[in-house]
């Protein structure tokens, strides 16, 4: 069963963190179409968050066509979001892990890596526009 985790030191709203984690689990093949998502009560009991936060996340995922709520039964994964297949994901993940090792050897801490990644994404976006 999928478990969620929330960070309060994030600019991402809690419901969006859940949306992103479901999307990511579907992309990575951790969650398959047909699998049941944790019930609202289970998520609330695990994270001590408001039930409406979970409902809002599940509604958003439903709107995107990724999950389906079945009355009185629960919420089920419907399909993978558009994105690279799990094998490509795994490959990219492995090469990123190698990069992280290299960066750590070079003396980067997590925060340093995050800001480098963000800067790189930003400059890549700029180039795409130009």
């Amino acid at each position: 069963m999928l478990t969620f985790h929330l960070t309060s030191h994030s600019n991402v709203a809690p419901y969006l963190q859940i949306v992103q984690q479901v999307r990511q689990s579907l992309l990575a093949g951790v969650l398959h179409p047909g699998d049941q998502l944790p019930t609202v009560k289970d998520v609330v009991a695990a994270l001590a968050i408001n039930p409406n936060t979970v409902l809002k996340a599940y509604r958003e995922l439903e709107r995107e066509g990724l999950v389906e709520g079945r009355q009185g039964v629960g919420t089920f994964a419907l399909r993978r979001p558009d994105g690279p297949p799990p094998a490509v994901q795994a490959m990219l993940g492995r090469s990123l892990a190698r990069w992280v090792d290299k960066a750590r050897l070079a003396g980067f801490d997590d925060a340093g890596m995050e800001s480098l990644l963000r800067a790189t994404l930003l400059s890549a976006a700029d180039e795409a526009i130009a």
Binding site: S8, N11, P14, T39, V40, K41, V44, A45, A46, L47, A48, I49, N50, P51, N52, T53, V54
Partner: protein
Amino acid sequence: MIAPSRPGETMAITTTQLGKRYGTTGNSKAKWALRECTLDVPEGRICGLVGANGAGKTTLLKLLVGLARPSSGSVRVLGQPSDTPAFLRDVGYLAQEVPLYRRWTAADHLSLGANLNGVWDGEAARERLQSLDIPLDQRVGTMSGGQRAQVALALALGKRPRLLLLDEPVAALDPLARREFLASLGAAVAESEGGLTVILSSHLVSDLERICDYLVVLAESRNLLSGDLDGVLASHRLLTSARRDIGSIEHQHTVLRVEHTPRQTSVWVRLEGTLHDPSWQSEEMSLEDIVLAYLARRPVQAADAPAAIGGVR
């Protein structure tokens, strides 16, 4: 940006100009513990009640549960005025001092609950405690604070209330016990599928931010803010700019606090519409900062109407 109200929501609580004064009328020592409190809390919400000590939180909760009579204004709870005892059947109240008998076991308390209440779901209460590994045959006096709070919560939920009022239930608990208590509370609300409304007073804003979806801020006996939590977060901003006059901001929005340094002006505001002036740099405020801005704001002007955000008025 005031968030729109959610259409079709029924109110669990409606107060109109509600006030409570302790001491005899005409006595100069008579003191308003709560005044001109107008607010709504929709059904199915978990509402955080926050404010400094002495701001009127406990008074408001007592008025809602009928333990105090209004000196002015009115209050409706679950569609009924609070001076009829009928509504009490559907209301659970947990006072600040956890009301348990230390020499009694959890099971003793559950039997008492069964005897005192017309509607009683003892099975659910037992299951709730068992799932938390709380021994039913242990005296509550020998339990941890967190376990005692869970027993009290199970008792309060045993009568299957439609409204549960909790006065600082987690104030004395360690972080883990607090998290577990709020998780149990949230799970009970999830289970009720909109049938249980909770009002929870606390000083711990980070807890409220997690578990609540509605917020009421009280300061100096007055209701300064009430509304949907998302709406509250969306409508408050910290604006900064090179030092300047704030007349244009004051004209359109509600200024909570201003700080001028020789070079810079910072304004904490509640936006009452779109911010048109792009020369202000606008940042979101954390819930903690929003609450602090209201609590530190003084003196409160009499003409200052409370904001109902995402509200229904």
